[in-house]
């Protein structure tokens, strides 16, 4: 029997370093402003729950929370549908130009997002969509990564499945919906979780396209909160916790599926 305690000791030491910033944030979020700035530090919260109420009063945090939910849900739903449709076609249907078009998709995957931002801004300006939620949603609906990820899942399914369904007279759309989609659920789940994580936290695009606090998502809202409150960390941290808690909770619940998805991108990506 091998001893595992040396591993435990090291892992626990590391875990403390990983957790410390969160614990500190939690404590400070419940402190008074003066306690949070004291030297030596005050290690106990003064249970000032009003910080959480204050942050909702001073910025439209509730509104921003709702915006983030709407944007995240719309993007994730769009990604799941559009990526799976394209991935199914790339993996299971034959048509001229398939390889070439797929190469374009892969090339897009290599390009950093900064190359897209200025023209996208102009598009949104042209449409009169600046400071609207659809400006945040529209570009996020499309993704080469999701198409690539789901294609890998569709490729693993046996060809007999399509053939049998085809003999029964099903068209490709029916095969996609009734036969294939249920079989790639782990892939859809992985993409869905990654998409939620990314769109919930994304900062740069929301920051440039929506400057009206009422139309901001939480990430951009936190940035503007920083501008307003400078070193009022109890308020800033209360806002931070409200903003990041939903994804943390989702992760704790769906941990296995998210980890499996990420590990999959490492082995097959």
């Amino acid at each position: 029997m091998r001893r595992t305690w040396p591993a435990h000791v090291t892992l626990i030491a590391g875990a403390l370093v990983m957790l410390a910033p969160f614990v500190w944030q939690l404590i400070v979020s419940l402190q008074t402003l003066s306690d949070s700035l004291r030297v030596p530090p005050v290690l106990v919260p003064s249970w000032r729950w009003e910080n959480f109420a204050d942050v909702f009063k001073t910025v439209p945090l509730g509104r921003q929370f709702l915006n983030t939910v709407v944007v995240t849900v719309a993007i994730t739903a769009g990604q799941l549908l559009l990526c799976s449709l394209a991935a199914f076609a790339f993996a299971r249907l034959r048509f001229p130009g398939r390889g070439a078009i797929f190469m374009v998709f892969l090339a897009v995957l290599m390009v950093p997002q900064e190359l897209f931002l200025l023209p996208r801004y102009e598009i949104m300006q042209g449409l009169g969509w600046l400071n609207t939620l659809q400006a945040l949603i529209a570009p996020g609906l499309f993704g080469a990564f999701g198409t690539f990820l789901l294609r890998q899942f569709f490729l693993t399914l046996p060809t007999e499945l399509d053939e049998a369904a085809r003999l029964d007279g099903a068209n490709p759309l029916q095969i996609y919906w009734h036969v294939m989609l249920p079989l790639v659920k782990p892939g859809l789940l992985a993409l869905g979780l990654l998409s939620v994580m990314w769109s919930w936290s994304s900062l740069l695009w929301p920051l440039v396209v929506n400057t009206d606090p009422e139309q901001m998502t939480l990430a951009a809202g936190l940035a503007s909160l920083r501008g307003q409150f400078q070193t009022n960390f109890p308020i800033l941290f209360a806002g931070s916790i409200v903003a990041s808690l939903p994804v943390i909770v989702l992760f704790v619940i769906m941990q296995r599926q998210l980890i499996a998805g990420i590990a999959f991108t490492g082995t097959k990506g």
Partner: protein, 291 residues
Amino acid sequence: MKSRERLWGYALIAPMALGLAVFYVWPIAQTLYLSFTESGVFGGQTWVGLDNYTALAADEEMTGALGNTLLYAALMLAGVPLSIVVAALLNVRGLRGLGFYRTIYFLPVVTMPAAVGLTWRYLYNGDFGPINQLLAAVGIDGPYWVADPDVAIYALALVGVWSSIGYNAVLFLAGLQGIPRHYYEAAEIDGAGRLRQFFRITLPLLTPTTFFVIVITMINALQVFDLVYLIFDLKSPALPGARTIVYFFFEQGFLKNQRGYAAAIAVVLLGLILVLTAIQFRLQKRWVHYA
């Protein structure tokens, strides 16, 4: 039958292909074009040839940002071995509480970078920040982490490493679990100790994963923005030491409205990423073992 399948194929990829064309492919072309232009006083763009690029080459803020970004990327790569260690520990046979540890190490990955940035801004504060108070307790006079341009990028990289250990460890753990047990059993019969097994079996067989992690760590590090934006103020005295390429792009393109100049910065970033990735792929032949 065959032509039917073709039509279906085009129909099913059409929505995604159109979206990618509008929001990805066209913007790339447009950004390239913009990089050769200058914004007019009354709007519109005038063609200026290579002026933006020659101006960038002489711009100290750009060379500074380039240096900061490369140093940040190098520091992030230096942090990769930490994830291998964590993954190897999580992979110890018979270890209990794997899920518990994984949750904790993964927490920073799922936390919004904006929130992470704010937290570290407090921890790093030179006067009341816990880090310096901890250092003071053991007699060290800590620096002004986020106000001193000489320290800023290291402070940033520390947060970067802290928030990516869990992600990389998950990838490494998957790689470790893919190594067949019988290699270790054979080594044990030959009398190889645990450490020897780690260097002779684990590390070589893990190299495909290591390569993947190195490439994505590098690409992500070259594009760091969120943490810089939240940890440092727009007017922070440390900004010359913390300004990254994407931060500079954001300043020029969206705060100063220098569209052409910003486009040129983005194109330089693309070039940098492509060149460094190509070098990585060239080098991999020397050290990556594909089973």
